[in-house]
């Protein structure tokens, strides 16, 4: 498929657009992609980092508390399960002095009696009779001798039962002060939740993300990464601590997503505005920059139509100015050349016409002289008349230098030829000339009618006793028409065709000089639909018609 060739202006415009909009689009897109890319990376990695930091802090604190409970157990064991309050306080302060709260360390007898408490109160779930196999006590009984971290009714408890064999000697419960644990998460600028492994929230810096029971939201607890919850988008990360707690860090990325969308929309709008302006301005400026090209294009088109008097006037840029000046110079040269060519062609035509005119002479002279030779023997007077006519005709042909003569002049000189024919054929030849008076002063090529007569005689006398030729001349619609009609033998169909074909040629290829020469002269002298046509019918006669433009002599 052929590709459509675009205009220069269109190309310029496209180039403008390509080098203004496309790079802008590329840069904006790249910037946007990079922005989202880095935002995402930053958001996710900082979430994970802070989650890990918080988890580490919590783990470390839990380790401290568990160690403390173990130490307490050892101390109690050493003292044979009497409770040395001073020693216990010593251990307690030693390990918790950094945290600003000693918490509630409780030592319980197997019968749920509080033997020691660091905070003067013991929660009912440690002493109530219905709790002997419930809550913390359940943990102590179940995990004999192990140090366990349990979340019970909002309290994070480290518990350990000290056993001798299978018999519980003493139980230690430490209720971790919530503030100490919350410290790890309060400074974070995202949602942090600490839950036990079943999802019950122990501490969090938000009231959201948990259900009415105080359990973490099911979608948060069941997925990691981007989470959709109630149509809001979150990014969540978690660490499961080996002490049975889970630390969740959740970013509310909704606002960021909205921001990104806003930025995308704004950028898109700006971009569209730029694109619109570019398209408009490139349309205008491309027209401006290609105005000279348009001028040149128009000039060429004018020239193509044949108008050679255009002139390019360009002052905008040097290159186009040079083109314009060169064009003007070239056109001048062209005009000159055309003028010269025309002159040359006229000269050629003239000389050709001259040559064609002159061709009648030898034939005619030869025939006439032949006749005169006969006449001289038979009729001296007639021979004399013939010689006079011939010399008149020759004089006209040679002496008359003008190309065109009036109808009257040509008819006058035709008389010489008619005289010759009359003498030559005597009574066998008759003629009849009807030329209207109003065309007598019109100009026609010299010796226009003589070849018609010559032709009529040439083809008419073919075993024919008598030949009548009538010549008519009249004007019609600014044209002059001459008709030469005879009642002779007519021309053979083949020959007629040959003559007609010959008439169309630029060069005579046959021996039918008379008609060809006259046709050729007419077409060389006059532009347009002028010339000669011939029709003939065997045994009925021949008709030749000449059409030339009407031209009055001055």
């Amino acid at each position: 498929m052929a590709k459509e060739v675009r205009s220069f202006q269109e190309n310029i415009r496209r180039t403008f657009i390509r080098f203004s909009i496309v790079p802008v689009a590329a840069i904006v897109m790249a910037a946007l992609v990079l922005f989202i890319f880095s935002w995402l990376t930053f958001m996710a990695s900082s979430n994970e980092q802070e989650n890990k930091a918080a988890s580490e802090e919590i783990t470390q604190k839990l380790d401290v508390y568990c160690n403390m409970v173990d130490k307490t157990a050892d101390a109690l064991k050493k003292e044979e399960y009497s409770v040395p309050a001073n020693d216990l306080f010593k251990i307690l302060y030693e390990d918790t002095n950094e945290y600003g709260d000693i918490g509630n360390l409780i030592v319980l007898s197997p019968s749920k009696e509080a033997l020691f408490t660091s905070k003067d109160h013991v929660p009912v779930f440690l002493t109530g009779s219905e709790y002997s196999n419930w809550g913390i006590w359940n943990v102590i009984n179940k995990y004999k001798g192990q140090t366990k971290v349990t979340l019970y009714s909002g309290n994070l408890c480290v518990s350990k039962g000290v056993y001798e064999g299978d018999k519980l000697q003493i139980a230690i419960v430490y209720i971790i002060p919530k503030e100490v644990m919350s410290e790890a998460i309060s400074s974070q600028n995202r949602y942090v939740l600490i839950t036990d492994k079943h999802g019950w929230v122990y501490a969090s810096n938000t009231r959201g993300l948990q259900d009415e029971f105080g359990q973490i939201d099911a979608t948060i607890s069941s997925e990691v990464g981007f989470i959709k919850r109630d149509g809001n988008l979150f990014y969540s990360y978690r660490t499961v601590l080996d002490k049975g707690l889970i630390v969740y860090t959740v970013n509310d990325v909704n606002r960021s997503v909205h921001m990104i969308w806003l930025i995308v929309v704004i950028i898109a709008l700006i971009f569209f505005a730029i694109a619109l302006i570019s398209v408009k301005s490139t349309a205008i400026s491309s027209v401006k920059y290609t105005r000279d090209i348009k001028k040149i294009e128009d000039a060429f088109e004018e020239v193509q139509k044949g108008k050679l008097d255009v002139k390019l006037d360009i002052n905008s840029s040097k290159e186009f100015q040079i083109i314009g000046d060169d064009f003007n110079a070239m056109l001048e040269g062209l005009k000159e050349q055309i003028g010269r060519n025309k002159e040359l062609a006229e000269n050629v035509a003239f000389s050709q016409v001259k040559q064609l005119e002159s061709q009648f002479n030898p034939h005619f002279i030869f025939n006439t002289l032949d006749n005169i030779r006969f006449m001289a023997r038979i009729d001296a007077v007639a021979a004399d008349k013939m010689i006079v006519s011939l010399s008149g005709l020759l004089r006209y042909s040679i002496k008359e230098v003008r190309e065109e003569v009036t109808v009257k002049e040509d008819l006058d000189h035709l008389q010489y030829y008619l005289n010759i024919l009359q003498i030559r054929f005597n009574k066998r030849f008759a003629y009849n000339i009807e030329v209207q008076d109003d065309i007598m002063d019109c100009l026609i090529p010299k010796l226009l009618i003589q070849p018609l007569l010559e032709n009529a005689v040439k083809y008419g006398f073919n075993g024919q006793e008598k030949l009548t030729v009538s010549i008519r001349g009249y004007q019609m619609q600014e044209k002059l028409i001459f008709i030469c009609e005879d009642d002779g033998a007519g021309i053979d169909e083949e020959l007629l065709e040959e003559i007609r074909t010959n008439l169309k040629e630029d060069r005579n290829t046959s021996s039918h000089y008379g008609l060809y020469n006259i046709h050729r002269r007419i077409s060389l002298m006059y532009n347009g639909d002028f010339g000669l046509d011939i029709s003939s019918k065997k045994d009925e006669g021949t008709l030749v018609r000449i059409t030339i433009p009407k031209k009055m002599s001055e």
């Binding site: 496309v22 590329a26 897109m29 790249a30 992609v33 989202i36 890319f37 995402l40 990376t41 996710a44 109530g128 009779s129 219905e130 709790y131 196999n133 419930w134 809550g135 359940n138 943990v139 179940k142 349990t150 979340l151 019970y152 009714s153 492994k197 079943h198 999802g199 019950w200 009415e212 029971f213 105080g214 359990q215 099911a218 607890s221 069941s222 997925e223 990691v224 990464g225 981007f226 989470i227 990014y235 969540s236 978690r238």
Partner: protein, 340 residues
């Protein structure tokens, strides 16, 4: 061609971003540990300690969904993912008993005789008498000892009552009224119900929790609720008192119902066993104010011992078969009152 090169670059860049976002933010589901989906019409304060203890004891994580009785029945019957309905009295759940998994807990041996004869699709969990809860600060001198006292003109518009169509405790009160005021003949009780409805002054609450909270918060002077809710309010130091209707108290056991299509039958059985175990029942009875079904558990000091209550027997089959009819009748009378 250059143009295509730029386009390709863009596509690659975009693809890279998409892949990166996908990799960075891939949300993957945490592998489900052992879990159990429980739907419950019980009050939140009631379920949390029991559920927590169950989780700690068994390591099974409970996904708890709280809703009204009829919604709970709907989800246990229709939602494959729900394993257990915890709560809902036998009167309300009665028509659906065939839709549950059949399981007899070994704890049944320790049940009081009254609860030993229930079918195997229900595991009796507690006994819930209907009671009146009175706001001590608002009631003034008005004496309330039973249903008859509720017709006192001074109480018009101050009575909290739930829609028996959606709240099972309200339906139980309706049954209780019909039997108590009809003196054993429920059809004779409608006279009282008509008067009672006019006392409501068009106020009908959507759920049972609105009833006890409404009374405790002083929106209403008296409410028709169930014992455990009233005890919970008492325990949280609200100025309320419990009145056992002198005309008679209907108390129906509520149960644990295991879904027929449960995918975690084992966990569900553990749940039923745990909740009827002595420890759980003991804790429930002493701390949560609900009457145990076991004979080896002492009830809370806040509730009146069983023998002091005028216990009213009901024909449970009749109640179950007439349930829809009675609710419709109730609605009709209510509408009549509104229109007239």
């Amino acid at each position: 061609m250059k143009k295509w090169g730029i386009a390709a670059l863009f596509v690659i860049l975009l693809a890279a971003l998409v892949i990166y976002i996908d990799w960075r933010g891939r949300s993957y589901e945490i592998e489900e540990e052992d879990k159990l989906v429980v739907v419950s019409p019980h009050p939140i304060e009631f379920v949390i300690p029991l559920i927590q203890e169950f989780e700690n004891e068994t390591g099974i994580s409970v996904d708890l969904r709280s809703c009204g009785t009829s919604a709970a029945i709907d989800s246990i019957v229709n939602d494959d993912d729900v394993d257990i309905m915890w709560g809902g009295s036998l009167l309300s759940v009665g028509p659906y008993l065939d839709d549950f998994y059949s399981y007899v807990t070994p704890n049944k041996n320790e049940y009081m005789d009254a609860f030993k004869n229930e079918g195997s699709t229900v595991t009796c969990f507690s006994n819930v008498p209907s009671v009146l809860m009175v706001n001590n600060d608002l009631i003034g001198d008005t004496q309330i000892t039973g249903y008859a006292d509720l017709l006192n003109p001074a109480l018009k518009g101050k009575i909290a009552f739930g829609d028996p169509g959606s709240s099972s405790s309200s339906f139980e009160h309706l049954v209780n009224m019909l039997y108590a005021m009809g003196e054993g003949e429920p059809d004779a009780g409608w006279d009282y119900v008509r008067k009672f409805i006019s006392q409501l002054d068009g106020k009908l609450l959507d759920s049972s929790s609105l009833v006890y909270q409404g009374v405790a918060n002083g929106k209403y002077a008296v409410g028709l609720t169930f014992e455990e809710a009233a005890v919970t309010m008492l325990k949280s130091d609200k100025h309320v008192s419990i009145v056992y209707m002198k005309e008679g108290v209907v108390s129906t056991p509520d149960g644990i119902y295991i879904g027929k299509d449960s995918k975690r039958i084992e966990n569900a059985i553990k749940f039923a066993d745990f909740m009827t175990s002595k420890d759980a029942q003991q804790y429930m009875a002493s701390d949560l104010g609900r009457r145990s079904v076991r004979n080896d558990v002492e009830n809370s000091s806040l509730v009146v011992p069983g023998y002091k209550i005028n216990n009213l027997p009901v024909d449970r089959k009749k109640v179950i078969s007439e349930k829809d009819k009675w609710i419709k009748e109730f609605d009709r009378i209510l509408k009549e009152g509104e229109n007239g």
